[in-house]
């Protein structure tokens, strides 16, 4: 009765915000070869790669320098030729600002590459072979989450629809858009390879309606009936997997489930391009398009950057900083992370470097206007979650489904009182997780302590039993001796 969904023409997801684009779609340029390339061994929450080179080794571009022992981690490739000068702690692109082990490669200006092993006739290949090749080429989701693509292309359920995510809904970022304009045929090929691996019946490229040039580039590169190219409304966060699936098909996937459980798989358009390069050209993932933007650098550019390039080298390729350079954000303005220094190197997940002025308004009290609930794509009540996380009522936070928050930032941006909602929710989630961890480890310690006590008691018992036995034996001996004396 209160939904009025018959008034809306298109299928859409709940909430969302229309944000100003700020996109400058510049042509891709190649920055100069950096002197040093830095590769963190930390891949994700619980996955590290192991170096397979030593300090002093010379390596070629495309050579594997760190291996991964599970499908959940991908190997790290050298992105230029040179010498490994160190494996040491350097600050990494992580919100903690901590330093961690990195392989440091000093380039030798030659940029020599390993010979490639292309596989053009992919339809004659085994799907497992193609997945293995994708894994060994180091391909991860280039939309920002960096999940290993080979693992994602091995779902446990049958897939009927592959959606290539060309939405790029965050403001400022235009790397996917320029990639589509300049390399549409390769992207189509990559999409078809992925469709072949998944055996999906449908393949849809979803692109925002604010990108007409990229849309027509894709259309001209597609032969009829190969795949569909659909335009979606430019609302943030359309680019989120579940939101995009809901816009395209109307299916709303619950928060606890994966899209693959419903027969959908999403892949970023740059990932499709990387798959094409890996399979058709035999090239491992050594570079990606990064958008450098914001009023903090002299020239806004899309760069074809090598993975491992320090940020300062990319800034130099854009003629350097302006006086407005006050903060450095890796990613977009909604979900990016702030980096403390420009010595940090870009990683596979870096799609954008936004350099602009700090905007930190003073926050006021919540006026309970409810705008936050209107824009939440997960249909949560950020207002209630804020009251509870503010007063540290973690149980109530969990009750109001804080775990379903995707930290998109819509509520934060729309709040008239400028309350830092996303930060409050992140802290609340961390506290809840820590509490659960502590309870679990306390329960384990208690179990071990109980076992320890039981073991000691058992030893005591055995000791007593032995003592009794010995006493009884002595009594017996005494009795026998007494008997012998008598007789």
């Amino acid at each position: 009765m209160f939904k009025f969904s018959w008034l809306t023409k298109k299928q859409s997801f709940p909430g969302g915000l229309k944000l100003a684009g700020h996109k400058q779609v510049t042509q891709i340029i190649e920055p100069a070869l950096p002197k040093e390339l830095i590769y963190p061994l930390f891949l994700a929450a619980d996955r590290y790669a192991k170096p397979c080179v030593n300090v002093g080794d010379t390596v070629l571009k495309g050579q594997i320098i760190a291996t991964a022992d599970s499908l959940l981690a991908t190997p790290i490739h050298a992105t230029s030729s040179g010498t490994i000068v160190a494996i040491e702690k350097r600050p990494i692109a992580h919100p903690s600002g901590l330093s961690d082990s990195c392989i440091i490669l000093q380039t030798d200006e030659l940029d020599e590459a390993l010979p490639t092993e292309p596989c053009i006739a992919y339809t004659e290949q085994n799907r497992d072979f193609l997945r293995h090749k994708i894994q060994q080429s180091g391909i991860v989701g280039l939309g920002g989450a960096a999940f290993p693509t080979a693992k994602k292309l091995q779902p446990s359920q049958a897939i009927h629809t592959l959606i290539i995510n060309a939405a790029e809904c965050e403001p400022y970022i235009s790397c996917d858009e320029i990639l589509m304009i300049e390399s549409a045929p390769e992207i189509i090929q990559g999409a078809l390879i992925i469709q072949y691996i998944l055996q999906a019946e449908h393949c849809i490229i979803a692109i925002e309606d604010s990108k007409p040039e990229a849309y027509s580039a894709l259309l001209s590169a597609t032969e009829s009936n190969q795949l569909q190219i659909k335009q979606v409304p430019s609302i943030y966060p359309t680019g989120g997997e579940k939101q995009l699936i809901q816009v395209i098909s109307g299916v709303q996937i619950p928060v606890k489930n994966l899209p693959s459980e419903y027969g959908y798989i999403c892949q970023n358009v740059a990932t499709a391009y990387a798959v094409y390069q890996a399979i058709n050209l035999g090239l491992p993932l050594t570079e990606r398009i990064i958008t450098l933007t914001g009023d903090g650098i002299k020239q806004n550019q899309n760069l074809r950057a090598r993975i491992g390039t320090p940020v300062k080298d990319l800034v130099a390729a854009c003629q350097g900083y302006t006086p407005q350079a006050e903060q450095l954000i890796m990613g977009g303005p909604m979900m990016g992370i702030a980096l403390a220094s420009d010595d940090i190197a870009v990683i596979k997940a870096s799609n954008c470097l936004l350099i602009n002025q700090v905007n930190k308004p003073i926050s006021q009290a919540c006026i309970r206007c409810g705008d936050c609930a209107d824009v939440c794509p997960s249909e949560l009540l950020p207002q209630q979650l804020y009251w509870y996380s503010h007063t540290q009522q973690w149980d109530n936070c969990s009750d109001y489904q804080l775990a379903d928050c995707i930290e998109c930032g819509c509520c934060d941006v729309i709040c008239p009182s400028k309350i830092p909602l996303v930060q409050a929710f992140r802290v609340a989630k961390a506290e809840i997780q820590q509490q659960q961890k502590q309870s679990a480890s306390a329960a384990l310690a208690k179990k071990r302590f109980d076992n320890h006590q039981q073991r000691l008691q058992r030893i005591e018992q055995e000791k007593l039993v032995k003592q009794d036995k010995r006493k009884a034996a002595i009594e017996k001996m005494k009795a026998a001796a007494a008997k012998r004396k008598l007789s």
């Binding site: 915000l17 606890k256 403390a340 009290a365 006026i367 206007c369 941006v413």
Partner: protein, 332 residues
């Protein structure tokens, strides 16, 4: 080069508390101008007195609470409360009435609870009820809307307690209630000269002005349609049922909508986000409750106009409404 690190998002919208309050004040201008056109400078003086009192009271509280004064006053919420009280009370009430009401609203109903965002009750309505109970006589002497008070006359009435003949008259709600008690029927009552088209002579246009202001707020997306619609329906539906049962003792639903502060309550008072319910379904129920209570108290209660009491009663119910009507997310 080193940079400071903060958490995402790194962008903000133009939405702000100040912008919202300013838009509501802007939307009240048609009503204020209409009132001024009919009753003269008295209403402007009430508004000025209220604003000055509110700002002084709030500054004092903020100083005592060691909070930043100028930036908090700049959110215009005290000004809005003051204006709402000033246009709700009779325009010929002596100066100390509006000052007391505003002091109560700001100091007790708002600051004592913690300031903006923490007050459970609508401060303007809390102030109005305080005045109604403490000073019943000045609060029931309404200015006749066919008399335009000049500046000097207004000063005399408000500050020097000068009585002017025929200045005050009963409102239609007052008159209707009294006459119904004496056993008159609605048709006879509505033949009286104090009636205009449907409601008070001249004053009914103020309701129209409130409606225009309210529609402006809706189009600007400052308020959503749920609360105003629910309040108006809450008055209209029960009134229609009662009117259908016996048109002689129950006024028509249009009468209820136009007279008193119904339209003002629907668009400006009930929509105060701090004291209203938070969820969509909750807001519809909250609004309907206000409308229903307005109708009930007017028809069977002791007071001729019931908006303030209805709003306060609904404020008390808002947290319960919210906790029962929590929307479930799709996590199954």
């Amino acid at each position: 080069m080193l940079f400071p690190t903060q958490s995402s998002p790194f962008s903000a919208s133009n939405n702000s508390v100040q912008a919202i309050m300013q838009q509501v004040l802007f939307a009240l201008i048609p009503a204020i101008l209409t009132l001024f056109y009919f009753v003269g400078y008295s209403v402007l003086m009430q508004i000025s007195l209220a604003i000055i009192t509110a700002l002084i009271a709030e500054s004092l509280c903020l100083y005592l609470r060691k909070k930043p004064i100028l930036s908090t006053l700049a959110d215009f919420s005290a000004v809005l409360t003051a204006v709402l009280i000033a246009i709700a009370i009779p325009s010929i009430a002596p100066w100390w009435v509006v000052v007391n009401g505003t002091l109560f609203a700001i100091l007790i109903a708002k600051q004592v609870y913690g300031g903006l965002g923490y007050n459970p009750f609508n401060p303007a309505m809390a102030g109005y009820v305080f005045l109604l109970i403490s000073f019943p006589l000045p609060m029931t002497l309404w200015q006749d809307a066919s008399i335009f008070l000049s500046f000097s006359d207004a000063i005399n009435v408000l500050f020097e307690a000068v009585a002017i003949d025929g200045l005050s008259s009963a409102t239609v709600l007052d008159y209707t209630k009294m006459q119904l008690r004496s056993g008159e029927s609605i048709s006879t009552i509505q033949a009286s000269s104090i009636f205009g088209f449907i409601g008070d002579n001249n004053k009914e246009f103020v309701s129209l002005a409130y409606l225009i202001g309210g529609l402006f707020l809706y189009l600007k997306r400052t308020i959503r349609w749920h609360i105003p619609f629910a309040v108006l329906m809450g008055v209209f539906i029960p009134a229609s049922i009662a009117y259908a049962i016996d048109p002689n003792i129950y006024s028509s639903p249009w009468f209820h909508l136009v007279t008193g502060a119904t339209v003002c309550a629907a668009f400006f008072i009930a929509t105060d986000p701090v004291s209203a319910a938070a969820s969509i379904k909750g807001r519809l129920i909250y609004g309907f409750l206000i409308g229903f209570l307005i109708f009930c108290i007017r028809t069977w209660g002791g007071y001729p106009d019931a908006v303030a009491f209805a709003v306060l009663l609904a404020n008390i119910s808002a947290p319960s409404i919210d906790s029962y009507l929590r929307p479930k997310t799709k996590t199954q």
